[in-house]
């Protein structure tokens, strides 16, 4: 992918986020969260702008962005469905839940449906361990998933 200079409009939105947060102690994570909230991902074009704004090298910013699971290099689907796959949910059949969701949506973990409707991700614990198996759909928490609830979720993300 050729590196395009950020369009003026994108660059100014990024600059505004940096300007707002750069005086915090340790501003990089808040800035990256801010950019991801604004654009749905952290565009490549943002990295040199951040590096410049915080007096870091581009490699340092790249290193941080790629270290954390949360930051996306490209936009997600319209919905993001995270299925908990940690031990407490495993004990209540989270693996079977994941298999069923994958089959119904026709995608695997870390994939986005071809129509852009949904991105499916595993998550290791939502802190809903007494309500297993659990999931998070666009920030909304869901517990004690059963076949009926799974079908509801799938219908919702497809609509």
């Amino acid at each position: 992918m050729p590196m395009q200079p950020a369009s003026t409009e994108i660059a100014s939105r990024i600059a505004a986020i940096i300007e707002e947060l750069k005086d915090l102690e340790g501003p990089l994570l808040p800035i990256l969260h801010g950019i991801q909230e604004e654009f749905g991902h952290v565009p490549q074009a943002a990295l040199p702008v951040i590096a410049d704004g915080l007096n870091l090298s581009r490699a340092e910013v790249h290193g941080v962005v790629t270290f954390y699971h949360d930051f996306r290099a490209k936009p997600a689907g319209r919905h993001v469905l995270k299925l908990c796959q940690a031990e407490a949910c495993q004990s209540m059949g989270s693996e079977a839940v994941a298999a069923k969701v994958k089959q119904l949506l026709g995608i695997d973990f870390h994939e986005t449906a071809r129509d852009g409707s949904v991105t499916l991700e595993p998550v290791y614990c939502l802190g809903l361990c007494a309500c297993s198996p659990s999931a998070m759909l666009d920030g909304e928490v869901l517990g004690r998933l059963d076949d009926e609830k799974i079908e509801e979720i799938v219908a919702e993300v497809r609509s």
Partner: protein, 518 residues
């Protein structure tokens, strides 16, 4: 008097439909033209009864649960606003056996009060600890916390007072209090519950820590998987600041303390204290070598107290009721109470705060009521993904830091995951290695490479390829990881792996034999 209805807004209750219940109740109130005040409280932690709705009556609170939206009409018909009988009627919440048997010190207000009402917090004993602390010399506060016997509730069990003393004794123009709210261990949700259900107790604990050590700035590092906790904490900090609990003159004293809420970005390893500090500084969440200790060179190189949510949230009651009061609970060197989180395949899952000393059997069979599936319990994992799997033969182990260490386990952040007899322990052992491989920060070789090699070797065992030789190799690898890793991620991954191999050897027999046996 306008009736008050309590409907939890705790994530666990929301995951079970509390929002839909709240909407149904609002709608019903409107249709019937009845006036009532709805309070969105935290959860009391009995998740098998959530969503648990409570009504304040002249005779005290009456609970109903688990309430479904379809129950709401009939609840009104049965006069639930006056505590009337209904199939979901549970009676007085503090008489529900699961709750009545607890010793609630840290969680005394959680699920009871409106989390964002400072008045409600104060009328339930809040701010008394901080009130006492501002009138004391820092060294005396540290002494009181030390004498209480409080140990780090994040998992390491290091005495909180001693950590504070190091920071107090280190000279610096700037010091920090960092609260580790990166509660990533499966089976744990105590930090989340406190932040959503009683956020001021954490703020109060951090302010006391600041005054005790001379730190003027605090950070709460909350994992991004907890959006509701982040939102509640942000609101609570703003309220505390406005009320003068935080700021240049804490409760009108000459002590300054303020704090900020920060959000993690999905890295489990950031629950390790030094990698959390790097993350707060805006770096990759890579583990730092110790020494220097964070208490001497921590955040931005300054002396830093880094404590778990529950450790800090237990400080206010120690400063309110005294070190002896707290210390009188517990056993051996494990003093006070511990919020045990009973999770996974269990009938009565939830948070159970009790003095140290309950046995695993009491927790799993009596309090937890056995498995949700009704099948026999095969194993319980204590202490999250880095904790050991315990077989029934070890269920007499009392909940105590030293007793668990003696059985090659750990209590960690006090989460317990129950598995029924359908669990395949070889699969669980492999998952421990896989999880370590996904979450390793990559700094040290035993963790980074060992975890991947561990998965591969366990796959060979599963496939029946030189099983005995490969199991010996896994044991050797675990030894290297345990003693050669920089932090608990690589260092403790051997606990679930080795405990599975030791206690459930039948699950590690090569596949052909297993098929033949069935």
């Amino acid at each position: 008097m306008i009736p008050r209805i309590y409907i939890p807004a705790d994530s666990g209750a929301l995951a079970l439909g509390a929002e839909q219940v709240a909407k149904a109740i609002e709608k019903e109130l409107k249709e019937r033209g009845v006036e009532a005040k709805i309070v969105r409280n935290g959860s009391r932690g009995a998740y098998f009864l959530e969503p648990m709705v409570e009504v304040a009556t002249a005779e005290g609170r009456v609970a109903y649960g688990p309430v479904k939206p379809s129950d709401v009409k009939s609840l009104f018909d049965s006069g639930f606003l006056k505590g009337g009988h209904h199939k979901r009627w549970l009676g007085a919440p503090d008489k529900i056996p699961f709750l009545a048997k607890q010793t609630r010190l840290t969680f005394a207000r959680c699920g009871v009060i409106d989390p964002l009402s400072l008045d409600s917090y104060k009328s339930h004993g809040g701010l008394r600890g901080l009130q006492n602390a501002v009138a004391m010399a820092p060294a005396d506060i540290v002494k009181q916390v030390t004498e209480s016997g409080l140990r780090g509730r994040g998992g390491a069990g290091f005495p909180t007072g001693i950590k504070w003393k190091t920071v107090l004794d280190t000279n610096s123009e700037r010091k920090y209090i960092v609260c580790n709210a990166d509660e990533g261990d499966s089976a744990t949700f105590a930090d989340r519950m406190i932040m959503e259900g009683d956020p001021f107790v954490l703020i109060e604990g951090m302010a006391i820590a600041g005054i005790a050590t001379g730190a003027t700035k605090g950070f709460v590092y909350i994992r991004s998987e907890y959006p509701h906790a982040v939102a509640t904490m942000n609101k609570a900090v703003a309220i505390a600041r406005k009320a003068g609990v935080l700021g240049v003159n804490v409760l009108g004293s000459p002590n300054a303390f303020d704090m900020e809420i920060r959000v993690g970005a999905g890295a489990y390893v950031c629950g390790e204290e030094t990698s959390l500090l790097n993350s707060l500084e805006g770096k990759r969440g890579v583990v730092r070598a110790k020494p220097p200790l964070p208490a001497i060179q921590g955040l931005f190189g300054k002396p830093t107290v880094i404590n778990n949510v529950i450790s800090l949230a237990s400080v206010p009651i120690i400063m309110d009721k005294g070190a002896t009061y707290y210390k009188d609970f517990g056993m051996g060197r494990s003093r006070g109470t511990i919020p045990i989180q009973i999770a996974g395949n269990v009938k009565h899952g939830g948070l159970f705060e009790a003095a140290f000393g309950l046995t695993l059997a009491e927790i799993v069979d009596e309090i937890g009521g056995g498995t949700a599936s009704g099948r026999p319990v095969k194993a319980v994992q204590v202490g999250g993904p880095l904790g050991a799997y315990f077989p029934r033969a070890l269920f007499d182990t009392p909940f105590d830091y030293e007793a668990f260490a003696a059985k090659d386990g750990l209590i960690g952040h006090a989460g317990i995951t129950v598995f029924d007899d359908s669990a395949d322990m070889m699969k669980q052992a492999r998952f421990a290695m896989e999880f370590c491989a996904i979450e390793s920060c990559g700094k040290c070789t035993p963790c980074r490479i060992g975890s991947t090699r561990g998965m591969e070797v366990l796959d060979k065992v599963a496939a029946g390829i030189e099983a005995e030789k490969n199991l010996a190799l896994v044991t050797d690898l675990c030894n290297t990881m345990k003693f050669g890793s920089l932090c608990a991620l690589g260092g403790f991954t051997p606990y679930p792996v080795m405990s599975s191999i030791t206690h459930f050897p039948e699950d590690f027999k090569p596949a052909p034999t297993r098929v033949a046996a069935e």
